[in-house]
């Protein structure tokens, strides 16, 4: 079991380790300047000194990201269920949602500071929630609407209520859509958090930390924040994948390949 899993992960580990090694080598061989690209070893050795400053910044950023992700996803689920329940609302809201989803919502970042105040945590959380809302809602509506007509007829033949049909048929059927939307949303929430922080707000945030260190040409330090954000993003992705596997062991995507 464990050895089997290890064997499956082996190629990925090799490529990953090879990538790091390659990075280290080219930086040394071509003597690439630190402000362009510091060596992995240099980034790692910058961590201890920076940790006291980095840790609270990362906690602040990740908390905002998670809060925004949770808020946006919750609202999106409510909106999607409403849109499926009331066709009029759907026909009115969906074109709007699709349009909004094709705009770069992150440009709201500086505006949100004006709305909520520079130091309010809500300015970041709301930007992230808006960023996450549209892709999750659109995907979930698609998922809920893709229920097989014959399965809906089956529920009708049992005289099942709308609510029962939603819980027992439509929502489980929409789970694959939900999880792929969540993976996109998780990455968006981190991008949203850090980019939003570039525009000011609390000093103890990864976005502010990066701006500050870059301004001082401390690029190893900048990269510690980048690495941390990447690790958190990967962690979030893995977490979502684990939950997905637990709830969707029946689905083709999970039972066929382990992606």
């Amino acid at each position: 079991m464990t050895t089997n899993r290890l064997r499956r992960a082996f190629p990925a580990i090799v490529v990953f380790a090879g990538g790091i090694l390659f990075w280290e080598t080219i930086v040394r061989v071509f003597d690439i300047k630190g402000f362009l690209l510091p060596a992995p070893s240099a980034i790692i050795s910058a961590f201890p000194a920076e940790w006291a400053e980095l840790r609270p910044a990362a906690v602040g950023t990740f908390t905002s990201a998670l809060a925004g992700l949770t808020l946006g996803t919750t609202l999106a689920i409510v909106a999607a269920v409403g849109a499926v329940r009331w066709p009029m609302a759907r026909e009115g809201a969906m074109p709007l949602a699709i349009t909004a989803n094709s705009t770069p919502i992150i440009v709201l970042a500086p505006v949100a500071n004006a709305w909520f105040g520079l130091l309010s945590p809500w300015s970041t959380i709301v930007v992230i929630a808006v960023l996450v809302f549209f892709p999750v809602m659109i995907n979930l509506v698609r998922g809920l609407m893709s229920t097989d007509a014959a399965e809906l007829e089956l529920m009708a033949s049992y005289a099942a209520t709308r609510r029962t049909t939603l819980w027992k048929l439509q929502l489980p059927g929409a789970l694959p859509y939900m999880f792929s939307a969540l993976k996109v949303a998780a990455a968006l929430s981190l991008i949203g958090a850090i980019v939003k922080e570039y525009f000011g707000g609390s000093q103890s945030r990864l976005g502010q930390y990066i701006t500050l260190k870059a301004g001082n040409f401390q690029f190893e330090e900048v990269w510690t924040a980048i690495v941390l954000a990447a690790l958190f993003g990967i962690g979030l992705y893995v977490l979502i994948t684990l939950v997905e596997k637990k709830f969707m062991s029946w689905h083709v995507s999970v039972r066929a390949a382990q992606i």
Partner: protein, 259 residues
């Protein structure tokens, strides 16, 4: 003289499709007797599935009436008088076989222990007792269809509506399923309306065969099948069986010639 379980009174059905309307059924009148197995046979697109949906109140007729022992079809559906089996098994892929069979009981508020017991009993009846904990995708098409039959029967509906349920099965499986169906009907006394494309199947199973014309579908003839009950494997070699097959075939051919 048995009383009518269901009555179709001058039923017509017109679908509004974009760019015109489709006249699917025209003036269909029919009494379906209590406890009988009545087959519907006719050319593809003549409105067999539509008629079945009207009987089950999954569609509402453009004109005419559908009554079920003095009730409206809608009331009968709300009273859970119908079990439905579609051409595709329509099992919910996230539910194990037993949970799929329990679905109608769950919706009808039967308590868990009782649900389990009845689902197990039904699965034994269709010969799938050992597959209770499998997922639908782990079963062959024929096994899935048997699960859907178990699911339709588990709440003891008084009327079973089946739309080409054995259409996708090989000849041997199909013959075995036909025997099983007749066995179940004998035990439960269920009234069955059975849509099929197969003349021998209609002749073998039915008390009566209703032959339908091309679109707009009408019932051109209702043929009594005078074969000894219970039907057994050897029935298919009975001269009366060949006579019945011939009679249905002639009736279908006269439709072809009329158009």
């Amino acid at each position: 003289m048995t009383e009518a379980a269901m009555t179709l009174g001058n039923v017509s059905m017109v679908f509004d499709a974009d760019g015109g309307s489709v006249h699917a059924l025209e003036g269909v009148s029919l009494d379906i007797r209590d406890g009988e197995l009545l087959s519907l046979i006719g050319p593809s697109g003549c409105g067999k599935s539509t008629l079945l949906r009207l009987l089950g109140d999954l569609l509402v007729a453009t004109s005419g009436s559908v009554t079920v022992r003095g009730k409206s079809a809608e009331q009968a559906r709300l009273d859970r008088d119908y079990g439905m089996v579609f051409q595709a098994a329509t099992l919910l892929e996230w539910r194990r076989v037993a949970a799929n069979v329990e679905l109608p009981l769950e919706i009808m508020g039967v308590e868990p222990a009782e649900r389990k017991r009845r689902a197990a009993e039904m699965l034994d009846l269709v010969g799938l007792g050992q597959f209770a904990e499998h997922y639908p995708w782990q079963l062959s098409g024929g096994m899935q269809q048997r699960v859907s039959i178990a699911r339709a029967l588990v709440f003891h509906p008084s009327i079973l509506l089946m739309d080409e349920p054995f259409g996708a099965l090989d000849e041997m499986t199909r013959e075995r399923m036909q025997m099983e169906l007749l066995g179940i009907q004998e035990k439960t006394g269920t009234t069955i309306v059975f849509v099929t494309h197969s003349i021998p199947e209609a002749a073998f199973l039915s008390d009566r065969v209703a032959v339908m014309s091309r679109r707009p579908g009408r019932i051109t003839e209702v043929i009594d099948i005078d074969l000894a009950q219970p039907r057994v494997f050897d029935t298919r070699e009975d001269p009366d069986f060949f006579a019945a097959v011939t009679q249905v075939r002639e009736s279908l051919r006269s439709i072809e010639e009329a158009t």
